[in-house]
């Protein structure tokens, strides 16, 4: 055998060994709502533990729960509760939940619609939009424009929380939907590009182009989506943000979770636009 082949195979062998040996790393995936908190926390955590690799991926709550169930990640991120179906799918997994912060899901509209006067809607009205019964902003006192109804992928946490309140079922069909998008990021882009869109977003993703609607409650009270109303619980669509592990974590995973729950970690939660719980 020529020398170069021997050297090459030796190198290959050594590199395989390195590839397989498990260096210290934490794999995290899931909700794009929780993602900003966790990726910032991961950055700061790595400064303290330079030899540690924290790999954070998006995908949505459904992906986070599923990949944790299949053992592909150490920590799953979720912005909704685990469904019974999901628990049944992974019988060998003991899901342990850590609440790291609170968030509100806000019905959002393009700024053009907001500025034209549609600034507060009731759950019934929003529900009728998603069912396709209201199709023009004129019917809600807005401009004469067809509504671009932006829906989300079914397993997304934001959609579960939103649909539960708006249509009474977290997996409700939305026959009025025009687009089905995924992450908060993608939805934010679509709504800001349009001048007649409605969608659902986490509170942290509102901006000048994407305005949050106030909710008209059954008793006529109007609640605006502000940090105050989320903290005191008056804003009706709020939810907990979770990190999930399979059974009680240990080692670096444990320390990372402790870091997020520490005052330092909770400060990151606040800076990301959510409500700290400690």
């Amino acid at each position: 055998m020529p020398l170069w082949i021997r050297v090459f195979s030796a190198l290959l062998f050594v590199s395989l060994q390195f590839g397989c040996s498990r260096t210290d790393s934490i794999q995290i995936a899931g909700s794009t709502t929780v993602l900003p908190v966790v990726s910032r926390a991961a950055e700061q955590f790595r400064m303290k533990h330079p030899n540690l690799n924290v790999i954070v991926n998006a995908g949505g709550s459904g992906v986070g729960i599923n990949q944790l169930g299949e053992g592909k990640v150490d920590i799953g991120m979720a912005s909704r509760d685990i469904t019974d179906v999901e628990i049944q799918k992974h019988p060998g997994v003991e899901f342990v939940t850590y609440t790291i912060g609170r968030d509100a899901v806000v019905a959002v509209v393009s700024s053009e619609v907001f500025d034209a006067g549609v600034q507060a809607l009731s759950f019934q009205q929003i529900g009728q939009i998603y069912q396709g019964k209201i199709t023009n902003w004129r019917e809600l006192g807005g401009p004469v424009k067809d509504i671009l109804v932006v829906d989300k992928e079914r397993s997304r946490g934001t959609r579960h929380v939103f649909m539960k309140l708006v249509l009474g079922n977290k997996e409700a069909d939305a026959p009025g939907a025009d687009l089905v998008l995924g992450s908060n990021n993608e939805e934010q882009t679509a709504i800001s590009q349009s001048d007649a869109a409605i969608g659902m977003l986490s509170h942290a993703w509102l901006n000048a182009e994407v305005k949050g609607l106030a909710i008209v409650l059954d008793d006529g009270a109007v609640v605006e989506p502000t940090l105050t109303s989320i903290v005191d619980g008056t804003f009706p669509i709020s939810r907990d943000l979770f990190l999930l592990t399979n059974s009680e974590p240990s080692g670096m995973t444990r320390s990372f979770l402790d870091f997020i729950m520490s005052p330092e970690g909770q400060k990151i939660v606040e800076e990301s636009g959510y409500v700290r719980i400690r």
């Binding site: 055998m1 020529p2 082949i5 995908g59 949505g60 459904g62 992906v63 599923n66 990949q67 169930g69 299949e70 999901e86 799918k89 992974h90 067809d146 671009l148 829906d151 992928e153 079914r154 397993s155 997996e171 069909d173 939907a177 025009d178 687009l179 089905v180 998008l181 995924g182 993608e186 882009t189 679509a190 590009q193 349009s194 007649a196 869109a197």
Partner: protein, 290 residues
């Protein structure tokens, strides 16, 4: 035979078998994993209602989307590509041809996510304004974007195909008194036919298989529009559906199995189109040169 030649030969043969084995393994994987869906849902797989919580897995809307997007993009890319390839191979002076070709190959190497982002920011807003639509994320946008993506590949392959036709045929044709365009139409193109078909098939495979870019611009709604010729509405292709949903399905569930079934249909699409094209257009005896 010397040792190194033996190793070389072994390496070449093994590589061939590995490539063939990969195709067999993938097909096997798709068939085995989609079996649950075929058994439990049967013909319901070919309806247009996709609703995982209700255990409805009809893939028709996605099949429709894939077919329409493919037709649009090839209808645009093939004629444009052919014209461009004729220009670069037959009309462009040789020293410019190399520059043009390297630029085209550079374009072919741009990752599809980049095309997707450009598609969201520019193409979809152009489509929106041009047709005065509610949203520019439509089936047409997907088709246009794919046409742009596949053009460089098709042009550079077709340019090679035409350029490979030996000079003597052109000279003979000219010697018979044909005009330049007649030389190209009646001598060069028919001679290069086999390679031209091969390149078109590669383009087709790329269009059917492209996921990321399409997923970002097509709107991702599992609906067949009221009129099947209305391409100015959002839709879904098989690949964009797979891209969006596969990660959230548990391996082994009916949902997962239905997703894999869609992959199988996609593979069958490419395979059958390849077989049809090879049977009807490929004739090795017609090849006059190598």
């Amino acid at each position: 035979m010397s040792a190194s030649a033996r190793i070389g030969k072994g390496y070449v043969v093994a590589s061939t078998f590995i490539s063939a084995a990969v195709i067999v393994v993938i097909t096997g994987f798709l068939v085995i994993n989609s079996w649950d869906a075929i058994r439990q849902s049967g013909l319901e797989l070919f309806t247009s209602e996709w609703n995982p919580p209700k255990q409805k897995f009809g893939i028709l809307a996605m099949v429709y989307g894939s077919v329409v997007v493919t037709v649009i993009s090839l209808a645009l890319a093939l004629p444009l590509g052919l014209a461009t390839a004729i220009f670069t191979s037959e009309m462009l002076p040789a020293r410019f041809r190399l520059y043009v070709k390297s630029l085209l190959e550079l374009l072919a190497g741009i990752p599809s996510i980049i095309y997707g982002l450009i598609g969201i920011v520019f193409l979809s807003t152009w489509v929106e304004h041009a047709f005065d639509l509610q949203s520019g994320r439509t089936v047409l946008t997907g088709g246009l974007l794919l046409a742009v993506m596949v053009l460089p590949t098709i042009i550079t392959l077709w340019d090679d195909a035409l350029h490979n036709v030996p000079r003597k045929y052109r000279e003979t044709a000219r010697g018979l008194g044909l005009y330049n365009f007649e030389v190209i139409r009646d001598a060069v193109l028919p001679l290069a036919r086999t390679d031209v078909i091969g390149a078109a098939l590669l383009g087709l495979g790329r269009v059917l298989g492209e996921t990321m870019a399409v997923m970002l611009v097509i709107g991702s709604i599992d609906k067949i529009p009221g009129s099947v010729f209305n391409v100015l509405v959002p839709g879904q292709t098989m690949t964009s559906k797979l891209g969006r949903e596969i990660a959230e399905t548990a391996v082994g569930s009916l949902h997962f199995s239905a997703m894999i079934f869609m992959g199988l249909i996609l593979l069958l699409f490419v395979l059958s189109l390849t077989i049809v094209a090879l049977t009807y257009f490929y004739n090795p005896e017609q090849r006059l040169y190598e």
